[in-house]
């Protein structure tokens, strides 16, 4: 199997961080090509973090923040969402396709969704050509 391109996950410690802990407690782990960066809240996210991640060799970046109304710091998730769309505009200006930067709302109870998102994180057109893998049935 060819080595998969590096993905950087930047996520809020209160939601995505807890989801990762859940994953570990279920004896599962993130795939090797995924680097996890914990931030204390979506509000901490800076466009620079995303751009530096691409500079450091990441092919794709995924930002994870809490759902609306679930942020410990009231609207950190909204700040994160804004930063992601600003960074996406900068990336596209620099010729990097916008799909390479993804944003998801996550709750601590969603570790399997996180794995699914990572699995499905690829260029949209390519995803259609590849056959669906059968091991993707995440139990809710």
């Amino acid at each position: 199997m060819p080595e998969r391109p590096k993905i950087v996950l930047i996520g809020c410690a209160h939601s995505a961080g807890v989801a990762l802990e859940e994953l570990k407690s279920g004896a599962q782990r993130l795939p090797a090509h995924v680097e996890w960066v914990s931030i204390p809240c979506g509000g901490t996210l800076d466009e620079l973090h995303i751009l530096r991640a691409f500079e450091s060799g990441a092919e794709q970046v995924m930002v994870l923040a809490c759902y609306d109304g679930a942020c410990r710091s009231v609207e950190g998730n909204k700040w994160a969402e804004k930063r992601v769309s600003a960074a996406r505009a900068l990336l596209e200006e620099a010729g990097i396709a916008g799909w390479r930067l993804a944003f998801h709302h996550i709750a601590p109870s969603m570790p399997l969704d996180l794995l699914r998102w990572i699995e499905e994180f690829r260029e949209p057109a390519v995803a259609q050509e590849q056959p669906e893998s059968s091991d993707r049935e995440a139990k809710a």
């Binding site: 939601s15 931030i39 204390p40 991640a53 809490c66 109304g69 679930a70 410990r72 009231v74």
Partner: protein, 387 residues
Amino acid sequence: MSQRINVDKRVMVLGGAPEAGLVTQELLKLGYFVHWITPDEALPNVPEDHPRLTCYENCALIRLDGHVGGFIGRFRRNGTELSLHASALVVATGNERYYPIERYGLALSSNVLTVPQVRKQLEAPRSTGAALPHRNRRALLLLDLNGETAKEISAEAMRLAIDLRAQWHCEVYVFYQNLKVDTYNLERLTRTMREKGIVFCRYSDPQITFSDERISVSYIEGTVSGELLILPEAVRPRTDTQELAKVLRVRVGEDGFFQDINIHEYRPGLSARKGIFFAGRCHMDGDWADIQTDALQAAANVDALLGPGFLEPEPIIAHVDSTKCVRCYTCVRTCPHAAVEMADYDEVIAARVVDLACRGCGACVANCPVRAIELIGQAMPAWVQSP
């Protein structure tokens, strides 16, 4: 970097709702000094002459300085100002009741009565056989006129329905559209009501018509007419909620009540600001048992914070480089926890993050236009820093 700061066990309880009394009593039991302050005329069930309690009636909060561990509240009382110190603050201002009758063109009359009015009739001393005139009457209890009746009021209305059935032996119909009975008491009450033969009818847009002293209410499946229409009250946030929230620098939710910090903490009653807690009806809907529990929870929240006698900053906090700060106030406006203020650093005025109040969310860090703020204690991969 653990700088412990000693705090005294002094708490302000704001508000004259009954739950404020419960919080006060519980805090006194736990050994706290309590300033109990209300903008209202009088305080309910004040413990008598407690050495650690001071009460202030007719006292309105006009300004709140300081942060957790050292709040300074400035109040106006009978034209004079006074300032009080406390380490934490509990808001228990309660809610406001009203009759949601305008929308349906209803007016209170001899056969359109409120729950307390009917309760009064029911409890009035009467000679034997007074229940007889009511035996053939039909009482219609109209819940949820404003969308959803508060749980406490639902419970009062349901108790009344059961008593009407028991004492007047009349038929009782309950109309509802969005009745929630997810508390122990309400569930028990609805079960008792069904056992006693009280009929529940669901409506979506009720048509209420009056003819010859009979009142008809149409619901989804038909129409019922009766002689007595009973209207429970509805609740809304107190009119001073917005103003108080502004002074306290805490959030008000979409429903107009004080808004708790989010669900991750699984601890109700925490505001976004450290050291400010909510108790009872000012931030929640529940029956009296829930409200009592919530009041105890508020006292427990205070004790969890101040109990050890000292406060410590969280492991990750923001720090401002005063030489870079351009005093744009972005951080002051952005901070969801109201932890940033302008301060004097040896002749330079710059923003300062109050360590104890900071929750380390980093909203100020990302928003600072001159990158003068950094998160201390937060590890980031090397590539984030590299140029």
